[in-house]
């Protein structure tokens, strides 16, 4: 058996890192807007007005790339099968030290839910962002609601992203290779995504 198998193509990886970079640009430019506690982050961008401008530009980039990424993977992340239900029931085995084994396809339900959440969050953040972009062009109540919703969905997003980064790095050693080099070790694939592993390896003659 070959030691490595491809998990993400070059274009999938580049797209993911565009989404990542625009997300963290949004985070850093937005922190100073979130609270005066983080006012210092504005200096990274040469002041608050520049930070807002960069926030708007990276917002467009994030909106488009994030939604594009979702639709690229829509078929893989939007359906759940019986094996997924068992994964959910056992919480992915993450709350136990014992080894756990699930017959998971390319993505586990946690990854699927994360993808769906981020896509929905992108939509909401983008739509509310339009009203916040130019508050005097819209009725006050819709801007007020948008400011609140934008903050709320951001908070949810950053918490999910913390979990995402943990599980993709130190929480599951070997995972990050998929996003860095595109290939994962066969052992890793067998262990975490056996159904996908079987599909990929059996396709080949």
């Amino acid at each position: 058996m070959s030691k490595y198998i491809e998990r993400f193509s070059t274009s999938e990886r580049v797209l993911h890192w565009i989404v990542t970079v625009s997300f963290f640009t949004l985070l850093l430019t937005g922190l100073g807007l979130y609270s005066t506690l983080f006012h210092g982050y504005f200096t990274l961008f040469g002041g608050g007005q520049n930070a807002i401008l960069i926030h708007k530009i990276s917002g467009i980039l994030f909106f488009l790339s994030s939604l594009y990424m979702y639709f690229n993977h829509k078929n893989d992340v939007s359906t759940f099968d019986q094996d997924d239900k068992e994964w959910v029931k056992a919480k992915g085995g993450y709350l136990s030290r014992d080894a756990s084994h699930f017959n998971i396809g390319k993505y586990n339900p946690g990854q699927k839910l994360f993808a769906i959440f981020i896509a929905a969050a992108t939509l909401v953040l983008g739509m509310t962002g339009i009203f916040i972009w130019s508050p005097t062009a819209f009725p006050r109540w819709i801007v007020q609601l948008s400011l609140m919703t934008h903050g709320l969905i951001f908070v949810c997003s950053i918490m999910f992203v913390v979990v995402h980064v943990y599980l993709a790095t130190i929480g599951n050693p070997g995972t990050i290779e998929a996003m860095l080099y595109g290939d994962v070790r066969s052992l890793w694939a067998k262990r975490h995504h056996p159904k996908w592993y079987k599909e990929v390896t059996e396709e080949k003659p």
């Binding site: 979130y34 002041g47 007005q49 807002i52 005097t136 007020q144 903050g151 908070v155 929480g171 262990r191």
Partner: protein, 263 residues
């Protein structure tokens, strides 16, 4: 809140609407002192002009014309920034010093520090802040420079009928109360810096009967913001805790234990 007011020395307006004759000297004096441009307006069939506050108009007289049993009553209302004790604009402003409270309790602003986010527009209970061609906040600052120099604001100086009385806020309130006036804004939002003696219910003047910072703005800044910071550090803490208690899912270890170490 870094925003504290000494209610004893707080300065403010008492606007006795029953004394107003609608001459609009206040509007003109404000324009003159603050070097504000004229606004182009059109005749709307009322003496009220302009019909709304603008970036070049910090205060104006609102004309409330009402007809009842063939008789027309006129009411005049001086519309401007209320200099709230608990100011929504200051709560949401992300740029320290862009909106600030003077030692007299005035909500003043510094255009150089304004970053044009316009959050104050959404947070104001009275829809006062405007943004002009420079994309910076613009509103009544109670002629903070004059007040610092011991003068009264330009509008109060010009008012010929003493409708606009400027001075120690609690003394103005005490004298109005002694004269049995019904006051608006004495205690709302930790006391408005502009207190009105109205001739009718506030709604007649287009004022909210109990003004408050919009609920969504309160949830955004006083609930979601602090909980969000807690949630962020909480999720990082939870991940670290998971790492040292349950631990990562190591591929090799797991396979070794399952397949008796022979791969």
């Amino acid at each position: 809140m870094a925003d504290t007011i000494n209610q004893g020395t707080r300065m403010g307006f008492l606007v006795d609407t029953s004394r107003c004759i609608g001459c609009r000297s206040c509007q003109v004096a404000c324009k003159q002192w603050n070097k504000l441009d004229a606004d182009k307006t059109s005749n709307k069939g009322s003496f009220e002009n302009p019909p709304n506050l603008t970036p070049e108009l910090y205060n104006r007289i609102k004309f409330i014309e009402k007809e009842s049993s063939g008789e027309v009553t006129w009411r005049f209302f001086n519309e401007r920034c209320m200099h709230c004790g608990d100011a929504g604009c200051m709560k949401v402003c992300p740029s320290p010093g862009a909106l600030y409270r003077t030692k007299d309790g005035i909500v003043a602003h510094n255009k150089d520090k304004c970053i044009s986010c316009k959050y104050c527009v959404s947070a104001c209970p009275f829809n006062i802040p405007r943004y002009g061609a420079d994309d910076k906040i613009s509103k009544c600052h109670l002629c903070v420079g004059r007040v610092d120099g011991g003068l009264v604001p330009a509008c109060a100086k010009a008012c010929p009928t003493e409708t606009l009385k400027f001075g120690n806020r609690s003394k103005l309130i005490a004298s109005a109360t002694a004269a049995k006036k019904t006051l608006y804004g004495e205690n709302d939002l930790m006391g408005l810096g502009v207190v009105y003696a109205l001739e009718g219910p506030p709604e007649q003047y287009g004022l909210p009967s109990s003004p408050s910072i919009p609920m969504s703005i309160f949830l955004w800044k006083d609930v979601i913001k602090p909980l969000g910071i807690l949630g962020f550090w909480g999720s990082i803490g939870a991940m670290l805790l998971h790492y040292v208690t349950i631990g990562p899912k190591k591929v090799d270890d797991d396979l070794n234990s399952k397949e008796a170490g022979h791969e």
